[in-house]
């Protein structure tokens, strides 16, 4: 059974695309057939973060409009043979995405993949609502910062009302992914703590990704964080989040706060 996951946030720049690439790669690393789908028509970037920007020929809009077949538009990752990308189009505007067209694409993807990870554009307009429309699970990417938390709250409201599941009286499973977390600043009282954000948004936590230079480094190289250096602190956070997404129960650790044996060995490079 294919699972459709939307990575969303409302606010821009909190790490949706980074998280989509990292979680997608992490799931594919578990040998599960995964496709990451870019819904940011007109401002695509998932191709760049995945390092596939020069291999884009057809995109999701071409498939919706019948100019290309789905297999022609799918790009297989060079590093992982279980990982695929369906890019967004760069030239057309968001109206090119139609609800019927997206439904057809999703139905076809469900036949071929275990995981369909939808990278939502920022905002609450068409692209964002279509990205969440067919989701079974939502990963809400939030920074420990007031505007991001507020926008996440708004997105949670939309997930509970504007999705296919919500409309048939079902629920979208929601998970909080806290990114750019700095345990030291939170400890000093200058950043919202994990518990603060959890209490305000009241949805379960799927992972805490620390603020880290590794994230920028990976995007410079065009590699998902989990593939660029699977032992870096953000990579570990994403790999664990993917395991939780797949149903495993793991205790959540706050990166940079307590160091286990692993953290002691790799502590210097993880920080």
């Amino acid at each position: 059974m294919a699972k459709v996951v939307v990575v969303t946030s409302g606010k821009g720049g909190v790490g949706k695309t980074t998280s989509t690439a990292a979680l997608g790669a992490a799931l594919a690393q578990r040998n599960e057939k995964t496709v990451v789908v870019d819904f940011d028509v007109g401002l695509r970037n998932l191709d760049l973060v995945m390092g596939a920007e020069r291999r884009v020929v057809y995109d999701i809009v071409n498939v919706i409009q019948g100019d290309a077949k789905l297999p022609q538009a799918l790009i297989r990752d060079k590093r992982l043979e279980t990982l695929f990308l369906l890019p967004a189009s760069q030239t057309r505007d968001k109206d090119a995405l139609t609800p019927e067209g997206v439904e057809r694409v999703m139905d076809e993807l469900k036949k071929h993949f275990d995981w369909i990870i939808c990278d939502s554009p920022a905002g609450i307009e068409r692209g964002a609502t279509l990205a969440m429309r067919h989701a079974d699970v939502a990963v809400i990417v939030t920074n420990p910062e007031v505007s991001s938390v507020r926008d996440s709250d708004r997105i949670i409201g939309l997930l509970d009302s504007k999705t296919e599941r919500a409309e048939r009286g079902d629920r979208v499973e929601k998970h909080l992914l806290l990114t750019r977390y700095d345990a030291a600043r939170a400890e000093r009282g200058d950043m919202l703590k994990v518990d603060d954000v959890l209490e305000i948004l009241s949805i379960p936590l799927i992972g805490i990704v620390p603020e880290s230079a590794e994230v920028l480094k990976a995007s410079n190289l065009g590699a998902p964080v989990t593939l660029a250096d699977s032992r870096s602190a953000p990579a570990i956070a994403y790999l664990d989040a993917a395991r939780r997404l797949a149903g495993e129960t793991l205790p959540i650790t706050i990166p940079g706060e307590k160091r286990g044996l692993f953290g002691k060995i790799f502590g210097r490079r993880a920080a």
Binding site: D153, A186, G189, D190, K193, I200
Partner: protein
């Protein structure tokens, strides 16, 4: 400066937390409920119109979400003549 800061120890996160809690309590109450209030208003109007003639402008439906209870306030002005007709 740093010593001064050390003693005053003003941390900003509790302020952020408090502001968010107040704001979101308010926003959660208003988003989505505007729909509900509009629907309630139309249906209440329809029920009343069966029995008395009322001026649409004189019907106010308000929802107030408190911490523990939500109240629905319906204020309808019924003109004297309409009341007679109903009787």
């Amino acid at each position: 400066m740093s010593i001064f800061r050390f003693f005053s120890k003003q941390s900003s996160a509790p302020t952020a937390r408090e502001r968010l809690q107040v704001l979101l309590a308010h926003e959660r109450a208003s988003v989505g409920q505007s729909d509900l209030v509009a629907i309630l208003r139309e249906e209440i109007l329809a029920v009343i119109a069966k029995h008395v003639q009322v001026d649409r402008e004189k019907v106010s439906v308000k929802m107030d979400r408190g911490e523990h209870v939500t109240t629905l306030e319906v204020d309808i002005e019924i003109p004297m003549k309409a009341g007679v007709r109903a009787a």
